[in-house]
Amino acid sequence: MKPSVFFYNLGQGFKGVARNSVMSTASILVLIACMILVGTFFVVIDTIDRNFNAIDDLNVIEVMMDKDYSESQIIEIGEKLSSICNDSPIIDWSSDQWTDDIVIPKHENFKYVSPDEHFELFKDKYQNQPWLDAFTDEHEGDHDEGTHAGITSSMQDNPLRGSFRITFINLSNFDEVVKVRNRIDSITVTDANGTEHDAIATEDIKDYAELYENVMSIKNALYVAGLWLMVIFLIISLFVIMNTIKLGVFARRNEITFMRLCGATKSFIRMPFIVEGVIIGTISAAISFGIEFYLYEYLLKGIVQSATGTSGVAAITAGDFWSDYAILVGIGFLAIGLFAGIVSSSISLKKYLKA
């Protein structure tokens, strides 16, 4: 395209947008609605992902031991657990992380955490809390030297229980995790009288599988809803832009007839209208980008922070928007805008302009 022709088309396109300002505005508004919708769903879904992935131990099942279980009972349960896990494809035993433990086999992905170890972890976690000192003073030093091997607590009143921590490869194989869970639920343990009891209460199996699945289904619902709304709004935009271009064609029909009969090429006649569609799409994309940034920076961030009560949850900042979303959102909006603008003006021209 020669520069003179390019500027002619650009000028004509802007003239078209201005001439038909009411319809152009309507077109821009529906397109903006469509883009904001898509953009917001996208950002919300991504924010869910981020915050979800930030949860520790997402792929861990923790099986809590009753406080009154003896060492031998815990060893029995441990053996049963490890044989369940041996059968399952969702645990990676491959890394050579076995350590010799006198009573229970230890592996990075399958290990027993004793009450004392839990207590240490607890202390680490709340290191800087003033109430911790009083709490530790109370419990420190009253180690019962009689017990060994660290399976049960050496402290008198350690309120914490021992647990088996089973780490999965990941949680996406949700069905397998549920299978393992159900088998763990039906483990039995032999009591002092030699009879077997249900070893583990359902609420003592702690994992994020349910949460994971719930979040996934919310995400999917959002995804499907977003997709449908996008399709609906896109169709509405197409119709509105088609009408805008149609009115433009009618307003210029004498000019167009004359141009055709002078021997103007089809593309020369159509280009200003296509450019009009492109301008509408581009303006919509630019405005939507600004709105999306505002929504992200001031609303979404605020909602996430007030919902979680902290800003520590995969903290979102304006910087994140620019580094992670800006290009995607910008390209996405422009793509939607150009698609809607070009496709609808082309359809309109095909319908209302003859050769």
Binding site: N254, M259, C262, G263, T265
Partner: protein
């Protein structure tokens, strides 16, 4: 050259506007096309510029086979034709100069060429002094002249004027006809659709009479039975 061979044309609503028309018009000829209202005169001119397509037969215009022309070639065909519309179709918001220049601009003419040609053709039609006027400031005859300048400015081989004197006063008719003869002398083929018998008798040119979509006579001079 324009050559109809057994051309028929039927509108999509079923109206048969032309039936089995055969005729040849050579380059540089001056031809009147006459006939009653609804005879098919305008349809014939529409076929020439590919506004309508032939239903059957063979039609050749300035080297293009219009019975089987590809749509992308139509603009090329139309650049060989200058059409003067019955109702002028001047743009009210453009000056005389801009109206004529617009015809060049839409076929992608260079600005330098536009600057040279527009005043030249405005002079030919005798409107050099009115180039900055708007159509609303012109008389009917002057508007018609602008339309002629516009049809001429892209240097077409053939000029088609459909009832060019239909909308102007009788005393202006002569001036317009003089202009058409002048255009013909520039070497262009001129087709004039009219029902003005006085003109036909005065100019002693080739007259093709159409009635009911068929050619009923084709002869030099004006001695045609009504």
């Amino acid at each position: 050259m324009i050559k109809f061979e057994n051309v028929s044309m039927e509108y999509s609503n079923g109206t048969a506007a032309l039936n089995n028309v055969s005729l040849q018009i050579n380059d540089g000829e001056f031809v009147f096309i006459v006939g009653h209202s609804g005879a098919g005169k305008t349809t014939l001119t529409k076929l020439l510029i590919c506004e309508e397509r032939v239903s059957s037969g063979r039609l050749e215009v300035n080297g293009f086979r219009l019975d089987k022309i590809r749509s992308w070639k139509i603009s090329k065909l139309r650049r060989t034709m200058g059409v003067v519309f019955q109702d002028f179709k001047l743009f009210e918001k453009m000056t005389v100069y801009e109206n004529v220049a617009f015809a060049m601009r839409v076929v992608g003419a260079k600005p330098s060429l536009i600057k040279k040609r527009v005043p030249f053709f405005l002079d030919i039609v005798g409107l050099g002094h009115k180039s900055d006027s708007f159509p609303s400031e012109l008389s009917g005859g002057e508007k018609q002249r602008v339309a002629f300048a516009r049809a001429l400015v892209n240097n077409p081989d053939t000029i088609i004027a459909d009832e060019p004197t239909g909308n102007v006063d009788v005393d202006l008719t002569e001036g317009i006809m003089e202009l058409l003869v002048k255009i013909n002398k520039l070497g262009k083929t001129v087709l004039v659709v009219t029902h003005d018998m006085n003109i036909i008798e005065q100019y002693k040119k080739r007259v093709i009479r159409i009635e009911g979509g068929s050619i009923v006579s084709d002869q030099i001079g004006g001695e045609i039975a009504e």
